[in-house]
């Protein structure tokens, strides 16, 4: 529960006087009486989730084009979102789409193939087998979903960390804080050619977009709490998930109490290789320590946080 109550006395602004005065229907003119002060108080309550057990969500971005079910495309964006409810902390861990892993019942292959083979369920099995982390929920969206959801909330304000120009994803950004529409947000999230670290950096940028969304949601809620429903509506219309609407609402309320500064945005480290003509990513075998740490309480201790793949570029 987030709660604060503040009392203060402040000077009366002409605007406040005008609105308060006029709307109660009094006919007294300002010069006839003196308006001394404004008493300010605040009360609030948000029904956030609590509990000692962390929540884990697998967030998937599909490459499916219109006409193909979004949950049967290649999952080119794969992120574990771990939420520690007791400490209001969140960890995001991205996987490069070309990560070469064991896919249950399918042998070894690129991690993004799992969804095309067996939907989000097989991707969940794959990531669970890889990391040992058990997922409570999954969320899948696609190109159209991202574009539409961002447009439905009126754009996403994001701090672009470095110049990005890429004809494939159509990204064209100077660094700095800017508000992107759905098309440009998608371009930001898809661009890997502008990034020195390729798919590793792209995965980190996708985490940056999630963080930007969290920061914006909190900011908008502070100004107009009703915006929470706009965001939930935009999300639900543009994703597939096994979460009920009630659960989404609870998580949305819970997200409000998470300071973006308390969110870790990480990517599993690894290297690139070629197998049978396929360009793949080999994940660092030491990442098991990272998975175990994350799976324990959704918080990764400092010594296990991998270096940012875009540290040299940002």
């Amino acid at each position: 529960m987030r709660r604060r109550a503040v009392f203060a006395v402040a000077a009366v602004t002409a605007w406040t006087l005008g609105s308060a005065f006029g709307s109660v229907g009094t006919t007294t003119v300002a010069s006839a009486q003196s308006f001394m002060e404004i008493g300010l108080a605040h009360a609030d309550y948000v029904p956030k989730l609590d509990g000692s057990r962390p929540i884990f969500i697998l967030a998937l971005g599909s490459d499916s084009r219109p006409g193909t079910p979004v949950d049967r495309g290649l999952s080119d964006s794969i992120h574990i979102i771990g939420i520690n409810l007791a400490k209001d902390k969140v960890s995001i861990l991205g996987f490069p789409r070309d990560s070469f892993v064991e896919i249950p019942g399918r042998g070894t292959g690129k991690i993004n193939n799992a969804m095309a083979y067996g939907g989000p369920e097989l991707t969940i099995q794959t990531v669970e087998q890889l990391t040992g982390i058990r997922f409570d929920y999954y969320v899948v969206t696609g190109f159209v979903g991202v574009e539409q959801a961002i447009d439905d909330i009126g754009g996403l304000t994001i701090d672009v960390p470095f110049p990005m120009q890429d004809p494939y994803s159509r990204s064209d950004f100077e660094p700095g804080v800017q508000t992107l529409n759905g098309h440009d947000t998608l371009a930001f999230a898809r661009d890997r050619h502008s990034l020195l670290s390729g798919d590793f950096g792209r995965s980190e940028n996708q985490g940056r977009a999630m963080l930007a969304a969290l920061a914006q949601l909190r900011k908008e809620f502070a100004k107009d709490p009703a915006r929470l429903l706009t965001w939930v509506g935009a999300g639900m219309r543009n994703v597939q998930t096994n979460m009920s609407l009630e659960e989404v609402m609870r998580l949305a309320f819970t997200a409000l109490s998470v300071n973006p500064k308390h969110v870790l945005n990480m990517v599993v480290p690894g290297g690139t290789a070629t197998v049978g003509g396929l360009s793949i990513v080999t994940l660092d075998p030491n990442a098991k320590v990272l998975y175990d740490d994350l799976g324990d309480d959704a918080i990764v201790s400092k010594k296990n946080i991998p270096p940012s793949p875009t540290a040299d570029q940002a």
């Binding site: 109550a5 308060a20 308006f35 300010l40 605040h42 219309r237």
Partner: protein, 214 residues
């Protein structure tokens, strides 16, 4: 008939005795709850639907959203009446009846934040009357995939004029948002964000002597 006359006569005698023996007998025998409760209703300015099913058009849910907005308004009319306008509550500084429209967790939180949510625990010492002003409400309703209203957001501006015993008045201004969900088949407030910005108005100065007629 005779019994009725007897009862009336008896009551008259008891009343007369009380009036004669007390220092301020009228104030003593008139309980605050006997004062009328001002009528109050928010003016609904907008009721918008928010679908979660991508195939559902907003227009299809317009009627249901208006109905949900009416439901929310009814609940908040009652809450603001209990929290600010019912003399039986503010004169005693006791707002126990106001939390019926909150779910359990929100009610518990609300009762710890009376300063923001009510006329206050000392309102009876300060005010002699509280009358509502023009107050407005807009609602947005989130619908589930079956077109059933799931969560209502009600954003309100409540205004009232509280006349002070010492002269002058306070214009009570409550800018607030409430989220409501169905709990046990009834809409209940599950979340609230309330900002108060009350304006103090000093007593009117005595009229200056008028000049002689010209």
């Amino acid at each position: 008939m005779i019994i009725a006359l007897g009862v009336v006569a008896g009551l008259a005698v008891v009343g007369a005795v009380l009036v004669l023996v007390g220092n301020n007998p009228v104030a003593d025998i008139v309980h605050p709850s006997a004062r009328p409760v001002p009528e109050f209703a928010f003016k609904i300015t907008r009721s918008e639907p928010i679908p979660t099913d991508p195939k559902t058009k907003t227009q299809q849910l317009k009627g249901s959203a208006e109905s949900a907005g009416d439901d929310a308004a009814g609940i908040l009319d009652a809450f603001y009446t209990q929290a600010f306008l019912d003399p039986a509550n503010w004169e005693d500084g006791n707002y126990d009846d106001a939390w019926d429209s909150f779910d359990e967790a929100a009610a518990a939180a609300a009762q710890e934040q009376l300063a923001g949510l009510t006329a206050g625990t000392t309102a009876g010492d300060t005010f002699e009357d509280i009358q509502p002003g023009r107050s407005v409400l807009r609602s947005e309703t989130l619908f589930d995939a079956d077109g059933k209203p799931m969560t209502i957001s009600a954003t309100v501006t409540f205004k009232a004029t509280a006349t002070k015993k010492a002269g002058g008045s306070t214009i009570i201004v409550s800018e607030a948002n409430f989220f409501l969900q169905q709990v046990g088949g009834e809409w209940k407030i599950i979340s609230f964000q309330v900002d108060r910005a009350d304006v103090e108005r000093a007593p009117k100065p005595p009229a200056s002597p008028s000049g002689s007629a010209s």
